[in-house]
């Protein structure tokens, strides 16, 4: 066997033995290469190229488990749904999520975001109210910026009350691309 075949066998063995704590792959999209990572519970991380895939993998190794392997199969369903989403054929994602990288108020914000429908937006203030802390507008900004699973959990649908886009983990350009695509 060559080293690629041995790697594939290692991934299969690890999965069978319950040692594949974090599986990952990348997908090419209109907003650049996305890193997708999943635990056995669900999708745990989506990372933009601009913020560094290596940094995201190191974060996973430290915060979840160092047993991290390139293992595309576990990510096949979400990769397929992302393809459909970027082709305009899908408006919601239906994959299990593992939100362990978000806690407290940040988790409350992340859990509210899927309620913002495709093609719609909410302001940071509206999200603060929905998450139970009307005054925590800035904290909503932080929670969105640190969303562990952007695109799939749509933090890009949160904008400023003056209608401007505000910050985005994947850069303002990516946020504009996503909102323009959803508005079309």
């Amino acid at each position: 066997m060559n080293i690629q075949e041995l790697h594939a066998r290692l991934v299969a063995d690890a999965d069978r033995e319950g040692l594949l704590d974090v599986a990952y792959r990348t997908v090419d999209t209109p907003v650049g290469s996305l890193l997708l990572a999943a635990t056995d519970k669900g999708l745990v991380r989506v990372a933009f190229d601009s913020s560094g895939h290596d940094a995201a993998l190191t974060q996973l190794a430290e915060a979840v488990s160092p047993r991290v392997l390139a293992a595309p199969k576990r990510l096949d369903p979400v990769a397929h749904q992302l393809d459909e989403y970027f082709a305009g054929r899908r408006t919601t994602f239906d994959v299990p999520l593992d939100l362990r990288l978000a806690t407290g108020f940040r988790l409350a914000v992340i859990e509210h975001l899927p309620a913002i429908q495709y093609g719609r937006t909410e302001t940071y203030a509206q999200v603060a109210t929905a998450a139970g802390s009307p005054k925590a507008v800035r904290a909503v900004g932080t929670a969105c910026a640190m969303n562990p699973v952007p695109v799939v959990v749509p933090c890009h649908r949160v904008i400023r009350s003056d209608g401007s886009y505000g910050q985005y983990a994947g850069g303002v350009e990516a946020k504009h691309t996503l909102l323009a695509m959803e508005a079309a």
């Binding site: 066997m1 060559n2 080293i3 041995l6 790697h7 066998r9 290692l10 063995d13 690890a14 033995e17 040692l19 974090v22 990952y24 993998l57 190191t58 996973l60 190794a61 430290e62 488990s65 160092p66 047993r67 991290v68 392997l69 390139a70």
Partner: protein, 166 residues
Amino acid sequence: MAISRFVGTRRLRGVRPFEEIVVEYGPMVLRVCRAVLGPVDADDAWSETFLSALRAYPDLPADANVEAWLVTIAHRKALDGWRAGKRRPLAVAEVPERATADEWRGDVWDAVAELPHKQRLAVAYHHLAGLSYREIAAITGGTEAAARRAAADGMKRLRATVEEKV
């Protein structure tokens, strides 16, 4: 196994995803397995080594000597095989005809296979894995000086064999 033994002098860095370990050291461990066990059993030994390493990896200190740790595991996997009679120390007749494209130079590997067991281990662990003689002695038993001598004798014999064939 006492993982603390592998705390070395390597520079401290953050937690590395296991994938990086496979990519960085996988080819080296495969060469070592091939040299020690031959190409037939090398695949299984490599797979068992990395599965075992993956299991233990969360407990490995960040500054551990990863090469020595992996070679120690590979050595034990080979030893288990020999003890169980599952794998014999390599016989030349088992080396199959392999495409040279797979970095497999038949003549050199044949010559490695013909080395006495201790010399083959010392050559593989020092020249393929880059371990120090002290680390090799800790893995195979015996003294640092004996490991150094075995590697030197092995290399001498290898050169003679390969030159003879050329």
